[in-house]
């Protein structure tokens, strides 16, 4: 972002960056930056809180009045990822003949469909659509249970994209099912990896692919790096 600020300013457009990594803003030194210590993926701070978002915007735009730069200011509010998984009910076991994650994914389909109908758009679809999620989890389950990942028919042939689609399917469905306040930063991610059969399956398949000697990019980006 700070690089693009230099580029746009050089093209004659005044810029303000909402910084998310202060050290990077210090080093790259764009003309004007407001550092926002908010959860990553939430540069305006809080979903659904128009007043807070407006406060961030107005503080950023106020930097346009500075006579010279680089200017690096800080938003006074610090928001941490809260570390508590989203409270979201999971479907009961329906078909015990299926791997748990496959059964679970099938059970979430109606919630996913409601989310899609409400929002009108989905971010599932990089290599599979919603129809492909249970089958993809079946493939990952087999890998986790010892099948050779090189022989497995990984949909799309890309583990990063596949796990993105699985996780996004779950997250969009969960937001439709969960009640209560807007979840904190990474709360939905925490729910997926710490509460669902699918998250556990992805983690186990990732470990199996890693232990089988796969190259780093094949397994590492299946989950957030700290997992």
């Amino acid at each position: 972002m700070s690089v693009l600020a230099h580029v746009f300013e050089a093209a004659g457009i005044a810029t303000v960056v909402l910084s998310s990594v202060r050290e990077m803003a210090e080093k790259t030194a764009p003309p004007r930056a407001l550092h926002c210590e908010f959860p990553l993926g939430r540069p305006l701070g809080i979903p659904g809180d128009a007043a807070f978002q407006l406060d961030v915007l107005l503080r950023a735009l106020a930097l346009l009045g500075e006579p010279s730069g680089p200017v690096l200011a800080d938003h006074p509010t610090v928001i941490e990822a809260d570390g508590a998984p989203l409270a979201c009910t999971l479907p009961p076991r329906f078909d015990p003949s299926l791997p748990p994650a496959v059964d679970e994914a099938r059970g979430l389909r109606k919630a996913y469909d409601r989310a899609l109908a409400r929002r009108g758009v989905t971010s599932v679809g990089r290599v599979i659509d919603a129809d492909g999620v249970p089958g993809a989890l079946g493939v990952l389950h087999a890998i986790a249970e010892g099948a050779d990942w090189k022989q497995a028919d990984i949909p799309g042939g890309n583990t990063t994209a596949l796990c993105h689609d699985i996780r996004t399917y779950y997250e969009e469905a969960a937001l439709e099912l969960a009640d209560g306040p807007v979840p904190g930063g990474r709360a939905v991610e925490d729910w997926f990896f710490e509460r669902t059969e699918a998250g556990a399956t992805v983690l186990r398949a990732r470990a199996a692919i890693r232990d089988a000697g796969a190259k780093f990019p094949v397994w590492f980006y299946m989950t957030p790096g700290h997992r």
Binding site: S2, V3, L4, A14, L40, G41, L44, Q53, V121, S123
Partner: protein, 150 residues
């Protein structure tokens, strides 16, 4: 260390390009300025071209579109926030409100989306696609951009 702390610590160690000469534009008064959003969330209209894993290009987003896909390839951020409220990354409705109130002059007709996961040398966005996107916004009469990172 939670995921955000780990990512911030990692990001702080990445190479940072040096700009020996910082360009500086003295903007017009805010109430006369046309403002655009430039995000690195890899958002794109669902009927536009998806972002690839190492995509150094950009997509233009019409002011009226809200049916945007999150095309960023990194798993290392809160991806659900956009599904809750697009404005937490792409504050288009907030800009519309500021324009209605006369705080800003106008909302730009088109906005810009890049992918935040760029090659370390960032040479393409610095020398090619970045200037191209800026030229597109200049052609639309944009005076100010606000850059939102993911």
């Amino acid at each position: 260390m939670n995921g955000d702390q780990a990512m911030r610590a990692h990001s702080a160690t990445l190479p940072a390009p040096v700009f020996e000469h910082m360009a500086w534009v003295t903007p017009r008064p805010l109430a006369e300025s046309t403002i655009a959003i430039v995000t690195s969330a890899a958002l794109y209209a669902h009927d536009d071209e998806a972002f690839g894993a190492a995509d150094t290009g950009y997509r233009l987003i019409d002011r009226t579109r809200r049916d945007l896909v999150l095309g960023h390839w990194s798993p290392n951020f809160d991806r659900a926030a956009v599904a809750i409220d697009l404005n937490v990354v792409y504050p288009i409705d907030r800009l519309e409100e500021l324009a209605d109130q006369g705080v800003i002059g106008a909302v730009a007709p088109r906005h810009v989306s890049f992918a935040g996961n760029q090659p370390d040398d960032v040479s393409t966005i610095r020398l090619d696609t970045g200037p191209s996107a800026a030229a597109a916004l200049r052609a639309d009469g944009v005076d100010v951009v606000i850059l939102t990172p993911v």
